[in-house]
Amino acid sequence: MAKGVKPRVKVPKSAAAGETVTIKTLISHKMESGQRKDSDGNLIPRSIINRFHVTFNGQEVIDVTIEPAVSTNPYFEFEAVVPEAGEFAFTWYDDDGSVYETSNAVAIA
């Protein structure tokens, strides 16, 4: 597992039923591209997050396949519909097999 991986998400605490909300996510990860070389000229092996998946109450919102061309600390901003009260589940999949998860509950206002 890469060191110091911390997911951060910004989701409104409440929304009207059927409302479209903007979600911002950021996860701290060095996203080593596999193109860089160290001071001895050896390639630094690739180590990135390769997939990011968001669901709401088990229903799919967005599924992103990530390549090395995504910057350090991958940031994503997108919109989702909130049909009822429930929970957004965010999952990041690391190259080394680690899975980082976080979730945010949304109430109906």
Partner: protein, 138 residues
């Protein structure tokens, strides 16, 4: 081996051409786009791609893409060592078919967004981004 003036010039010119080549070659990007579309033709319009005109730092270039009615969007950087950047599939609860993120660009090049529409057609948008400092290390 005697290096004549002519040899030295030829060598210099070919080295120069080689260093330029990676940023100009778009065959890899075309291949990557064809893999995403399955070889189908792409039309213009229907996709809006927002990129900065000049990026000072190629390590984090903010891009956003919006394609109403799309089921999937892929972003390609034509001049990167690997042209694929991200592929996003939208589920039933996606509020809009839009995504913003930050990407790495190796140098001045075209950024291409391809959207797969619900009817199976593909639309494309492309922007040129000038990069002052490339983002590929090395």
């Amino acid at each position: 081996m005697d290096l004549t003036r002519r040899d030295a010039l030829a060598l210099g010119a070919s080295t120069f051409a080689l260093t330029l080549l990676p940023f100009r070659a778009s065959a890899a990007a075309d291949d990557a786009i064809a893999t995403f579309t399955g070889g189908a033709a792409t039309s213009d319009g229907g996709v809006s791609l927002t990129t900065p005109e000049i990026a000072e730092n190629g390590n984090t270039v903010p891009v956003s893409v919006d394609a109403p009615g799309a089921v999937a969007i892929a972003i390609f950087a034509a001049g990167n060592p690997t042209p694929e950047v991200v592929t996003a599939k939208f589920g039933p609860l996606a509020g809009s078919q839009a995504l913003s993120t930050r990407i790495r660009l190796a140098g001045t090049q075209d950024v291409v967004a391809v959207a797969q529409m619900a009817d199976g057609s593909f639309a494309k948008a492309s922007n040129t981004v000038k990069v002052t400092i490339g983002g590929c290390g090395g």
